[in-house]
């Protein structure tokens, strides 16, 4: 494995690991706050149990998110020093703002988790709201930095170096809006439907458990709207890609020849050598229409891109198919669940509960697939059209060693977290050890 490949693999592993925890850190606070708020409104102690149980899980996941994020901020320099030297002055700003969002998120999460009995109920709920807001802000800022890598603006090039830098302009890169909206919705969609799926699955075994019934409702309340919006925003994101990164779009669609009436390819296995796609379902004019709102529009194909500047077409195309397929399936199931909720028959529909349970990991897989589309689709560029990834990598030799080390570390952490969540939170059943404790009884009286 070359050093460049090892560096890319280490970056990809670290991000793919971090994003799972980041997404939970964005969306779980909203679920906790909704549950706590329901408890204060209704006095129904099960909602309190729910908020407590969820915040325990969030505490574990947040800590792993925080430490893996710390690794990432160093890795930007450890692996890509030339990139940071080039881009630090341009896109450091969103990272600095992100730093402050981390501060408020960590501060108020500490207050939320450890402060149940130390501050007034209203202050406690307010702390939860602040955690949720800063979580969204951290995600938005870092995705803005990534959007700039896809559509770099806010500077002029003189002799290959950026001058006249305008970091505010850089933050307004056209890719920022669709990417941040899509990512934020992704967090709510994946987490909401994921949590709903877990409780739906447990409801199949204990259909009468009021704990899981309420949990399912709160999670769907957050998950369904985001899941329904996601395909629409994804389409918007795709139109931006069509405009600013034609090579990425061509790879996503395995579109080898520039043409009008370009077909939408569903599924299939591209062969970049023969420039053909096996076993795909083609909808004539579909791609032209989706990309430019006009079935006869011309869509740039990979033939207009020098061969050495192609991204890996197979990886990008398949990853895109995975994301879109899962996104569409989730949206259909979200519609089904919304309809069942309106009818008041949510928990009686075993088949719906089964499908929700099976789709629990879908949002997280879609997120990983989406990032593969974005990142692999941008190759061979680290900054689209300006800096090649190969030119940005660190001169340090033997990069396979840190790659293997961090991968092992993350595999072990992943196992430990899964085990812990399962043993200490999911398997403790609807009547957790918290019921009946003195702390619980005093908290059952909501403040006036």
């Amino acid at each position: 494995m070359s050093d460049l490949l090892a560096a890319r693999a280490q970056m990809a592993t670290s991000l793919a690991f971090h994003i799972l925890f980041a997404v939970v850190g964005i969306a779980m606070p909203v679920l906790m706050v909704v549950a706590e708020w329901r408890w204060r409104r209704t006095g129904d102690a099960i909602y309190l149990e729910l908020a407590k149980r969820w915040s325990k899980g969030t505490a574990i996941l947040f800590a792993v998110g925080a430490v893996s994020g710390t690794v990432l901020s160093f890795e930007l320099g450890l692996l890509w020093p030339a990139f940071m030297e080039y881009a630090g002055a341009i896109i450091g700003m969103p990272f600095s703002l992100e730093g402050f969002a981390f501060f408020t998120e960590a501060i108020f999460l500490g207050i939320y988790l450890y402060g149940w009995t130390r501050i007034s109920p209203a202050a406690h709920l307010a702390a939860g709201v602040l955690v949720a807001l800063s979580g969204v802000a951290s995600g938005v800022f870092v995705v803005i930095a990534n959007a700039w890598m896809n559509a770099p603006v806010g500077f002029e090039l003189v002799n290959g170096r950026p001058v006249n830098i305008d970091p505010l302009r850089a933050m307004m890169t056209p890719a920022a809006l669709p990417q941040t909206v899509h990512m934020t919705l992704a967090a709510f969609s994946a987490t909401g439907m994921g949590v709903a799926g877990i409780h739906a699955w447990l409801l199949r075994r204990e259909p009468d458990a009021p704990f899981h019934q309420r949990a399912l409702r709160v999670a769907l309340l957050v998950g369904i709207p985001a899941t329904l919006l996601q395909p629409i925003v994804g389409h918007w994101s795709g139109q931006h890609v069509a405009e600013y990164q034609p090579a990425k779009l061509a790879a996503m669609e395995a579109h080898f020849e520039t043409s009008r009436m370009a077909p939408l390819r569903i599924g299939g296995w591209p062969n970049p050598d023969t420039r053909s796609v096996a076993a795909s379902l083609d909808i004539p004019g579909g791609l032209s229409f989706l990309a430019f709102n006009d079935p006869s529009a011309e869509v740039t194909g990979l033939d207009r891109i020098p061969r050495e500047d192609w991204p890996n077409v197979r990886v990008v195309h398949v990853a895109f198919q995975v994301m879109v397929a899962l996104g569409s399936a989730m949206a259909l199931v979200a519609l089904w669940a919304a309809w069942a909720m309106r009818r008041g028959s949510l928990v009686e529909r075993r088949r719906l509960l089964t499908v929700l349970g099976l789709l629990a990991p879908a949002g997280f897989i879609a997120i990983e697939a989406g990032w593969v589309v974005t990142e692999v689709g941008r190759q061979p560029w680290i900054v689209q059209g300006l800096v090649r990834t190969a030119d940005a990598v660190t001169p340090v030799p033997g990069l396979i060693v840190p790659f293997v080390t961090f991968t092992l570390l993350y595999v072990l952490l992943g196992i430990a977290v899964t085990w812990l969540l399962y043993r200490q939170i999911i398997r403790t059943g609807p009547r957790g050890e918290f019921y009946g404790t003195r702390e619980f009884r005093t908290m059952q009286r909501p403040a006036a």
């Binding site: 325990k56 030339a82 207050i111």
Partner: protein, 346 residues
């Protein structure tokens, strides 16, 4: 060389401030882990509980100071960030393994089963990582300020570029010094947070021992600077600035030790904080105006004005949010008993 104080100097100063905050708060959290590892005697479980209670709600927020240093470095001084990240790749990566293990093992211990063997297993990972990480942080800082990073950029071979900057005795002496300093701070803070006299005495003794270690390791590091970090040696021994720095640090160290001896814990805490502050700011002052010693200045390495100005504005707004938030956090957990519940039967 431009000796005026200007926007880049202010931003470098804020980085020192963030590092200072990290030492005072995050450093003490690491120190707490060291005392978890060294818990002993009849009250060893109580000592561990005190440490866990003291750092539980705040370590994640305290940890963000380090992230602020990093993001400010790559935004305001990107070339310096790149030079450090290349020459110090190995110790920084090792430090990050420690950061990951410390944070996650601490959290896993908090939420995993109360069974003794489970608690001990996570506790061991947490406390060993708390011991190793500050050493590696110190090695990184020591190498950075020794002047070896600049020399590494022109070294002919891989050893000279990626290993030599941090393998020498001086960075490791700074590593030991940072570890002692963090453990010392933690012990001093814990004398105040201890719920009873017996525990207070435990940590008073530990603080006194750690004070000796700080003194000894500081001396060792200084002597090694003569050969390994001539730039720093010159600054710390042969300039007028140095006298003031040494006087401040020494005076507060003596006051802290005396106050610990006489059990004036609040005075001891104040003096220990002053001691660490004079070390951090003294080092910054001696190094100024160089960012990558011995010859690359803050001005040479700074990003363009537009970036610096924007970061300065962002920081001002950010600190307006941050300072009250931290105040609330520390007020809630470092002062109040529990007025809104009786989980502990109060």
């Amino acid at each position: 060389m431009n000796n005026g104080i200007d926007l880049p100097d202010y931003l470098a100063g804020i980085m020192v401030l963030a590092l200072h905050a990290y030492a005072l708060f995050g450093g003490a959290d690491f120190g707490g882990g060291v005392w978890d590892l060294m818990a002993s005697g009849p009250r060893r479980n109580a000592q561990r509980e005190l440490v866990a209670d003291a750092i539980g709600p705040i370590w994640e927020a305290n940890h963000v100071w380090l992230i602020l240093v990093v993001v400010m470095c790559f935004t305001c001084f990107p070339a310096a960030f790149a030079a450090y990240a290349i020459a110090l790749h190995i110790p920084i990566s090792l430090m990050l393994v420690g950061v990951v293990l410390r944070g996650s093992a601490f959290t896993f211990r908090t939420y995993d089963s109360r069974r003794d063997d489970v608690q001990r297993r996570w506790g061991l990972v947490f406390s060993v990582a708390s011991l190793v990480t500050p050493i590696l942080l110190g090695v990184t800082l020591g190498a950075a300020l020794s002047g070896a990073v600049a020399a590494a950029q022109t070294a002919p071979d891989a050893w000279g570029r990626f290993v030599a900057p941090w393998i020498g005795p001086f960075p490791w002496a700074i590593g030991g010094f940072v570890l002692a300093l963090f453990a010392y701070l933690a012990a001093v803070y814990l004398t105040i947070e201890a719920p009873d006299e017996a525990l207070r005495e435990d940590f008073r003794r530990r603080a006194l021992v750690a004070a000796l270690a700080v003194f000894a390791l500081g001396g060792v590091a200084l002597l090694m600077a003569r050969a390994d970090a001539p730039f720093l040696w010159h600054g710390l021994v042969e300039t007028q600035r140095a006298i003031l720095v040494h006087a401040m640090a020494a005076a507060s160290a003596v006051v802290a030790a005396w106050a610990l001896w006489r059990r004036y814990y609040e005075v001891a805490r104040l003096a220990a904080v002053l001691e660490v502050s004079s070390i951090v700011w003294g080092w910054a002052w001696v190094q100024w105006p160089f960012f990558v010693p011995p010859d690359r200045t803050i001005d040479d390495l700074a990003s363009p004005r537009a970036t610096l100005r924007l970061v300065a504005i962002g920081l001002s707004v950010g600190f307006c949010v941050l300072v009250p938030s931290f105040w609330v956090l520390f007020r809630i957990f470092k002062r109040n008993p529990r007025p809104f519940g009786d989980a502990e039967g109060a």
